[in-house]
Symmetry: C2
Subunit: 324 residues, 2 copies
């Protein structure tokens, strides 16, 4: 066995597992919808099943894995192995011992990290940020998350750094899902964009967004739904994405003016789905706000795509991983 | 002689010199208006005269100083000893060899640093930020400058980090003196506030700001003029300072959400003049925008006051100073 590990990307809509070896080669994978009910125990059970499925695809026994890494939303305590306050997951307001529960079910030791942090660190080690020593990862999905890498090390502050989604881009602006006003996420987060789209439809605006959603068997405007609507040149979708990009440009440029790092990596559900053409549009939207526009940072779409979160979760199980 | 050095704070309106010993005790000081004409040579001449005056007050010969440190606006090249593009100083668009010019006039070696950086580092070593390892300095004056200290070291990025004044706090907002739109400095910088006040007066609004200015023999709304107007409860002054504080609250809270550092130090002409009561108001304005409001950073007025810039400039002449 070549030091085989599992990485789990625990998201609000899906659980993605990758089985990787010491060269970070993906030997097998599995993807399952995140249970919408049953609370943390149901989610833990589904993670265990997905790890089993991915292990089978890789031809290994789950019990023989060196370790399992999990990138999770919410407040992650890596030492205690707990996840709390994961509001994107149903019934996960309290503290749940995810690490011990998975170890009991599967055998191997479990390491927990923040979902965005592990995905951004994967981009540093294996993805779009390899050439850079300092950059910002902006994870554009349901919300807008972020992580900061300075001199090739994560900057965590007092534990909560990287919340670029809650940069105020418009004083007294739109209401954010976090309850505050004018945050970047209020304009660019997929949840806020959906709320805004529904309100505009209630006011009589036309869009195919919700028909595409139904046709795809979704109950939410997923990244795929937005992509399809843009392909069809849906006027409302085009306008809301342009509004999101304007906000991302201002918020990310502000972060660059503050930190002057070399690069920005755009990931997350929407960032990964829309890819480099939209990373380029974000770079364009940043330009008028940059204090040193002649030395703009590079802006890349995340290179590891959908599997980045799971691969990053596997990385934290390695000796020297930043969550040890 | 106890290792005596000079520190020079070169500002748009004044040149402040402090002569300090190795315990950072101030042995003598001088303050002169910055020449409004004659370009860089006139400014260099006035710096030399002020160093002479401060040296005399300290009872030392300028030629016997160990070194002279200068905190300067503009683009500072510490290695070459040049300052370029110092737009707050008259006739200083180009590159001027300030270091060599002062060494030729006075004798001692000259070290150059950025004015805000040296003042913020002085607060770290000797002032309000001593208890913290990571904080943001926000220099609230003609413009809004800043500097970032992480793990007790300045974070410079690619050389231009700390431009918190050009955080976008309002998409499509007010025009900033930098030419961009919606920057924090467009609301909180003294230059922008004066432009705005003049425009409001042209539109018929009443204020005593410009009468106070004339009475004090000023041609600009200095920090002292704003302070006097606030003391007199001048309605326009109160409203514009409240607008500035709202913008500072949003911009600084955004930086805290990104970096999660322990503290904020508010300095600069207005910050120093208005002091802790206004630092407290900024803290209050930050609160609704903080992602982790229950663990808000400490917000302090700069402790070294008017002399902080000059003391900080003297610090860079020490072995181990960050500009060596």
């Amino acid at each position: 066995m070549r030091n085989v590990r599992a990485g789990v990307d625990l998201g609000g809509t899906k659980i993605q597992v990758a089985i990787v070896d010491s060269d970070h080669e993906v030997l097998g994978q599995a993807r399952r919808p995140t249970p919408g009910q049953g609370g943390p125990p149901a989610v833990a059970g589904e993670i265990a099943a997905a790890v089993g499925e991915a292990s089978a695809a890789a031809g290994v026994e789950p019990g023989s894995l060196m370790a399992i890494g999990v990138g999770s939303p919410g407040v992650v305590d890596g030492h205690a192995g707990t996840v709390a306050h994961a509001l994107n997951l149903s019934g996960w307001e309290g503290v749940f011992p995810l690490g011990p529960t998975l170890t009991k079910a599967l055998g191997p030791p479990v390491f927990l990290g923040n979902d965005v942090d592990v995905a951004v660190e994967a981009e540093l080690l294996l993805g779009a940020a390899r050439p850079y020593s300092s950059f910002i990862g902006v994870w554009w999905g349901t919300g807008v998350g972020g992580a900061i890498i300075l001199d090739r090390k994560p900057w965590a502050g007092r534990g909560a750094a990287g919340e670029i989604g809650h940069t105020v881009v418009k004083l007294n602006g739109a209401r954010c899902p976090c309850g505050r006003r004018g945050c970047l996420e209020a304009y660019a987060g997929r949840a806020a964009m959906e709320t805004h789209a529904r309100r505009l439809v209630d006011r009589g605006e036309k869009t195919d967004l919700f028909e595409i959603m139904k046709k795809e068997g979704r109950t939410r405007l997923s990244s795929g739904v937005w992509e399809r609507a843009l392909e069809k040149d849906d006027k409302l979708a085009v306008a809301l994405i342009a509004r999101a990009i304007a906000a991302l440009g201002a918020g990310i440029a502000s972060a660059i003016n503050l930190l002057d790092v070399e690069a920005v990596v755009i990931g997350g559900g929407l960032g990964t789905r829309l890819g480099q053409p939209f990373a380029d549009r974000i770079a364009e939207a940043m330009s008028p706000h940059l204090f040193v526009p002649e030395r703009a940072p590079a802006v890349h779409a995340a290179a590891l795509g959908d599997l980045g979160g799971a691969i990053g979760a596997a990385l934290i199980t390695e000796p020297g991983g930043s969550h040890h």
